[in-house]
Symmetry: C2
Subunit: 201 residues, 2 copies
């Protein structure tokens, strides 16, 4: 993802690309967040991944995108033509390894997601997700995390309704595990407690 094209600004809610459209570009998030989702035949929506800064998406190896990408809030992206990536790979073996490890990370994330949706309760899913957002300030101490997305996006990612998501959040608040100073900010007071919940109470 070296070739630094001009940075691309995308406004809130805009579609970056659509599911099954021909894939010309790959992207990297510089600022903001992007959701990768699929619309199910009956109109329900499943968010497959929420990409945060420094993460890449649209690294399809088939011809068409496997999901729709939309901006959550204002987003700044780095965009790179696929042809350019292919070329780089032919020339420099080391970029090949980088590409594979990116794909690998994506695959692993998808598998984590499957495991979460398959067998966890609403509270467990929420706890898992908050922990994922909290990596970096792993340590103890009340740590604050910024939620780039709204409740509906969280719900669609977790495979829950918006109401259940809210209620689970309220449960965690009631248990003193977290607090929510405003709707886009969550403070984790009891990291160990959160981890315990994430792993099946």
């Amino acid at each position: 993802m070296k070739p630094e094209g001009p940075l691309l600004k995308v406004s809130r809610g805009a579609t970056i690309y659509s599911h099954e459209q021909v894939a010309h570009f790959s992207y990297k998030v510089i600022e903001g967040a992007v959701r990768l989702s699929r619309l199910l035949p009956d109109g329900r929506r499943q968010i497959l991944e929420i990409c945060l800064p420094q993460e890449t998406f649209g690294m399809e190896t088939s011809d068409a995108y496997s999901a729709t990408a939309e901006a959550i809030g204002e987003v700044v992206l780095l965009r790179c033509p696929r042809a350019c990536i292919a070329e780089l790979q032919d020339e420099r073996p080391e970029t090949r390894q980088a590409m594979l490890s990116m794909l690998s990370r994506g695959m692993c994330a998808a598998q984590d997601h499957v495991a979460m949706l398959g067998h966890q309760s609403a509270k467990e899913r929420l706890a898992c997700y908050l922990l994922r957002l909290a990596v970096g300030h792993e340590d103890r101490r009340p740590c604050t995390i910024r939620l780039p997305m709204g409740r509906q996006d969280m719900a669609d990612y977790l495979g829950l309704t918006i109401e259940t998501t809210c209620r689970s959040l309220s449960d965690l608040k009631a248990g003193g595990i977290i607090s929510t100073p405003d709707r886009h900010r969550i403070v984790i007071h009891d990291m160990a407690g959160l981890e315990a919940i994430a792993e099946g109470s």
Copy 2:
């Protein structure tokens, strides 16, 4: 996956490799079926994928396997050292493309799985899965599919309990959509009906 090492026979239930173990080999299923699963911290199990003949698995691009692979019944495998694959990729650009498209297919399958677990009911999940097994004899006409795995494996793949899986199966039988001559065989009588159910009644 060209380098045809000797075919490897694995007996029913045996572990081919374990989650987080160092990944030395990649595999291709020749005969039988393999389940890729993860054990959750609380003992529950999620099956991430069920690999049928001609499918590959263990194509990790990181150093460790991202799941455990076990034989469902007797299995015949083709095994290939990762080092050998890497070498091939350096020498022949066309194998690189093949490798990427395999990874891509795996990624897409994982995303399908996420979408299924996120928002579908038990009956819808089962219908989806049966349809996936039925690709090939897509056409009309009562088509018979062989189930390589038992009910518990299906349940763990679908993110359901074994009882719910059974009941959903019984529902489909009661609706005249399918019949089950024996536990490892399912006959689809009404393909269109099954598709309708899979897409959210």
